[in-house]
């Protein structure tokens, strides 16, 4: 966790170009941390040249990618671990900012079947791919 925390922090200091959809690098991107029970904490960080909306879209698209990789058809987002423990899913991720940079993050639970507030991974991937991967 410590290495990823350092990398996330470094994004806030090293920026210049708009954030592209890719794994976390100096201009931002996505990363995830396992180990919170069955939850995965997924981040999408963007710099000051990229809109907040792009961070949210990138995060939800990354969750869909992970669900498909894990052969799960659905996923739910939780804004924090306490909400996850209560089963209080959210339609949107959490967000934070540091200087001109912005991060979107959520605790994600991957599911086999749909439920209230869940996302259909394949549908999300199809809808958001042209948006998040647009140059």
């Amino acid at each position: 966790m410590t290495y990823k925390t350092f990398l996330i922090a470094s994004v806030f200091f090293l920026s210049g170009c708009a954030t592209e959809y890719k794994s976390l690098g100096y201009t931002g991107g996505y990363t995830e941390v396992n180990g919170y029970g069955n939850l995965v904490k997924v981040y999408f960080l963007v710099n000051g040249y990229t809109s907040r909306e792009k961070a949210t879209q990138g995060l939800i698209y990354r969750c869909a990618e992970l669900a498909i990789e894990k052969k799960k058809a659905h996923f739910v987002l939780y804004k924090n671990m306490t909400d996850a423990a209560k089963g209080a899913a959210s339609a949107l991720p959490s967000s934070g900012s540091l200087s001109e940079n912005f991060s979107s993050y959520a605790y994600v639970l991957f599911l086999d079947s749909p439920r209230e507030q869940s996302f259909d991974a394949h549908k999300v991937a199809a809808e958001l791919k042209p948006i998040v991967k647009a140059k």
């Binding site: 029970g37 069955n38 924090n80 306490t82 996850a84 209560k86 900012s97 200087s99």
Partner: protein, 140 residues
Amino acid sequence: MNKPYYPLLASFLALLPACESIYPIADGQAKARMKTSYYPSICEQGEYYKLPAAKDKQAFEIPANSRVTFAVILSQTDLGGMTTSCFPHISFIPKSGATYFMEAFIKGNLCYLDLVREDKTKEAGVVVEPSIGGDYCHSR
């Protein structure tokens, strides 16, 4: 306190853990594990201590079966350049052998500590852990 002093306060607070010694957990003492991406301090008898790492380096070790207070240093600067810094405290009674996850975040200029206990029988793998706020250590 005037806002321009916040970054200075945050810098000062960030240096504090370096001054702390590691909390001594005796062999045979009841203990639990805490996983977090922060470096929390534990308050014991009016002093802050750093938490010792577990042998597998995947978590911190914490004393169990009595109420303990933890604190985390947080600082965040928003798009307008306003910095929010805080030193939130939380206290709870760790159960011997249990694993806890704790994260911290700032929302709306307020600081939060997010604490749950691992429970592998639950779908999300975590359950709510009852907790209350904790006093500043040096004020006791």
